[in-house]
């Protein structure tokens, strides 16, 4: 039976034509393509790395692609995040990515995880997938994905970047490979690693590293070649002196070692350190009352106590007292700009930071709070 006929048993002639270059490829063939079509891959982070990884996995015929990202497209993303166009600026990355991927391959089942990847849902989400790709931009999520992938028993294909360099690795506990914690036991402390926003990133680098993640995923799914498990590839695009390092399992590892202390997904383990990698980006922006009033589609969020609302309030604002934000952030839309305010701006700064850490990107802290708003925007408003 020919490779085309094997595929045809399960699928259509159209599929055989579409994947002809895989069918003729030694080590892939119809069996490999069938595995690709049946595979379920979760991509977390649809930025520089996630863009090429998603495009290539989708093109290769991976049957189910799960996508998770909180972000909206920013103008500064376009220099490297090739899933998006100028028309997408301000829109949800998930929606933009889903549209592009579906247009490019209508057979792919695209699943959007709008709820985001959190300690309390990550294991349930990972149970729906065969492997996960880490394209995130912060250490807390990297540790979260590493721990969850190990506990869920699926491989983690990791890539990360700094300026002109990248690290690519496959962490697969079933194949005697170390995990991310074997390599880096503890999350870096504040200030240890500079942030990407200030350090910059070489535009085409994620094209390499994200495509390598896709290659490793396709290798793992089809069984072709030698997977990168237990090894880390260090890419240096300035010199192209790339290096391969071994990452063996560490018997002392808190996650995958012989006496693990990490056996479940405790949320506090993944709280962002004060800085981590994205400190500057994570600082909520302060916004003046005038600028806030001109924000398109902004939602004002009042974090004061109920009695304060009796004194004065901004029409249309939703009310969530500061202490309830961690329990009720899900009520706040990620795709709309949020203007957080309190009386003078201190409590709302805390709330804005909490939302930032939950992945909200368009969060503003109203400078001077409702007190300044009253003075500058509504002189008739009561002050206290």
């Amino acid at each position: 039976m020919s490779e085309h006929e094997k595929l045809g048993r399960l699928d259509t002639k159209r599929m055989a034509e579409r994947y002809a270059r895989h069918l003729s490829l030694p080590g892939v063939g119809a069996d490999g393509q069938q595995r690709l079509c049946a595979a379920r891959v979760l991509l977390v982070g649809l930025g520089g790395l996630g863009s090429p990884a998603a495009l290539y996995l989708n093109a290769a015929g991976v049957g189910t692609l799960g996508l998770a990202d909180f972000d909206t497209v920013d103008e500064s993303n376009l220099q490297r995040q090739i899933l998006y166009t100028e028309l997408d600026v301000g829109k949800s990355k998930l929606d933009c990515a889903a549209r592009v991927l579906q247009e490019r391959n209508g057979d792919t089942l695209i699943i959007l995880h709008r709820e985001g990847i959190q300690p309390d849902n990550v294991l349930d989400i990972m149970a729906q997938y065969d492997l996960v790709l880490d394209g995130t931009d912060n250490f807390p999520t990297r540790y979260l994905l590493n721990d969850a992938a190990y506990l869920a028993g699926i491989p983690l294909i990791s890539a990360s970047m700094f300026q002109f360099e990248a690290q690519v690795a496959v962490f697969d506990s079933k194949h005697d490979s170390g995990c991310y914690r074997c390599l880096y036991p503890d999350m870096p402390a504040a200030g240890d690693v500079p942030n990407c926003a200030e350090a910059g990133i070489f535009g085409a680098l994620p094209g390499m590293a994200g495509a390598m993640q896709a290659i490793e995923a396709i290798k793992w799914i089809t069984g072709v070649g030698e997977p990168l498990q237990g090894r880390l590839l260090m890419l240096d695009t300035l010199t192209h002196r790339n290096r391969m390092m071994r990452v063996p399992a560490n018997p002392q590892c808190a996650l995958c070692g012989s006496s693990p202390s990490i056996v479940d997904m405790q949320a506090d383990r993944y709280a962002a350190p004060v800085c981590a990698v994205a400190a500057v980006e994570e600082q909520p922006e302060s916004i003046t009352p005038d600028a806030a009033a001109k924000l398109t589609d902004a939602l004002f969020v009042d974090v004061r106590e109920p009695f304060e609302l009796e004194l004065c309030r901004i029409p249309g604002a939703v009310h969530i007292p500061l202490r309830d934000i961690p329990k009720r952030y899900a009520e706040l839309p990620v795709e709309r700009p949020l203007v957080m305010y309190c009386h003078k701006g201190m409590r709302s700064a805390v709330a804005a930071q909490q939302l930032r850490e939950k992945g909200y990107r368009q969060v503003y802290n109203l400078s001077g709070g409702i007190d300044r708003w009253a003075q500058e925007m509504e002189p008739d408003m009561a002050r206290y």
């Binding site: 982070g45 300026q163 240890d192 391969m244 063996p248």
Partner: protein, 91 residues
């Protein structure tokens, strides 16, 4: 002499960044001491307040992490490449 490969994430901490540094060293410890002597601004990146090696940056000789060899006592030869591998998180 063996030389140390210094990735960009560590170079930015250096007063005069270089991507490689030759060191006169017979062990990993001597190599690290040589690096810190020349660039004292890197001390806190590698050593805690007691002078012990932090686990923040991994140190490889060739393909092998020194922790899977003899730690800081791992011998280095003149032809060895000592690669520093800091965690990076950009995506």
């Amino acid at each position: 002499m063996p030389f140390i490969v210094i990735p960009a994430a560590l170079r930015r901490l250096m007063s005069e960044p270089v991507s490689t540094l030759e060191v006169d060293a017979a062990t990993a410890r001597e190599a690290l001491d040589g690096l810190i002597a020349k660039y004292p601004e890197l001390r806190e990146t590698f050593l805690d307040s007691d002078g012990n090696l932090r686990q923040f940056v991994r140190i490889f000789i060739g393909e092998e992490d020194i922790e899977s060899l003899q730690g800081q006592d791992t011998p280095v030869t003149p032809s060895d490449e000592i690669v520093l591998l800091p965690p990076i998180a950009g995506g």
